[in-house]
């Protein structure tokens, strides 16, 4: 998804990769980031697709679900980290309480955020990790 954006917005020109097997959730996340000025929101349904897309588009930030078919977020994170050593990877999950910060960090995740936080918090965290 790509749209024309107000250059005053924080996300102007940025690309995000949203990885979630749930289409409705992907759509809501895309709306939140595109409304914030992001130029492009690429979407993947699982970790394997995310790796292929990340190699192509080199996103500025990645929002990654944990529970996915084929390859889950904890499997995908270290591989994404290898491809994009400096790109923030936010693990956005309903299962944040099942993971320790240490495990997530070791897998290459920059930050774990529970899915019950407002979208605004997620977008703010993305900017924080991108250094905006």
């Amino acid at each position: 998804m790509e749209i024309q954006i107000d250059p005053q917005k924080r996300g102007f020109g940025k690309t995000i990769l949203v990885v979630d097997d749930n289409a409705a959730i992907r759509k809501q996340l895309a709306t939140a980031f595109l409304s914030d000025g992001f130029k492009t929101c690429a979407e993947a349904e699982n970790g394997q697709e995310a790796i292929a897309l990340a190699e192509q588009i080199k996103p500025d930030v990645i929002v990654l679900d944990l529970s996915m078919p084929v390859m889950n977020g904890m499997e995908a994170a270290p591989r994404l980290r290898k491809i994009l050593p400096d790109t923030p990877i936010i693990l956005f999950t309903l299962y944040s309480d099942t993971l320790s910060t240490k495990d997530a960090s070791r897998a290459g995740v920059s930050f774990v955020l529970p899915k019950d936080v407002p979208f605004r918090t997620l977008v703010d965290k993305a900017h924080e990790w991108m250094g905006n």
């Binding site: 097997d21 289409a23 959730i25 078919p69 889950n72 270290p78 099942t98 495990d103 070791r106 897998a107």
Partner: protein
């Protein structure tokens, strides 16, 4: 459910999910349940019976995780952690290459 009772209307799709055996429909119901839960957790702060709702959501998520793993073959992250942690192998866990992972996934 904690006490076997349905307390919230959003739990209906969860029951349909539990009763479904056809893989494609399990997948559809699982996505529906997850979408409903995702919507509900955002309203938690406004609920007067937040504790009961939180417990019901926690139960539902646990059940959803089990169904996705056992009926749909989703790779569970506990295996990922075990593989990377216990075997002291490449931290970039390659599921399917390790004995532990192969054991965990042999039913797929």
């Amino acid at each position: 459910m904690s006490n076997g009772e349905l307390k919230f209307p959003w739990q209906d799709p969860l029951v349909e999910l539990m009763l479904e055996s056809e893989r494609e429909k399990v997948s559809e119901h699982a996505e529906e349940v997850e979408t409903v839960i995702f919507g509900r957790v955002h309203q938690l702060r406004e609920e007067s019976d937040g504790h009961r709702l939180r417990q019901a959501i926690s139960d539902a998520l646990s059940l959803l995780r089990t169904i996705k793993r056992d009926k749909l073959g989703f790779p569970d992250w506990e295996w990922t952690k075990m593989c990377a942690g216990l075997l002291q192998c490449n931290p970039y866990c390659m599921r399917g290459l390790h004995l532990l992972c192969m054991g965990a996934t042999r039913n797929y």
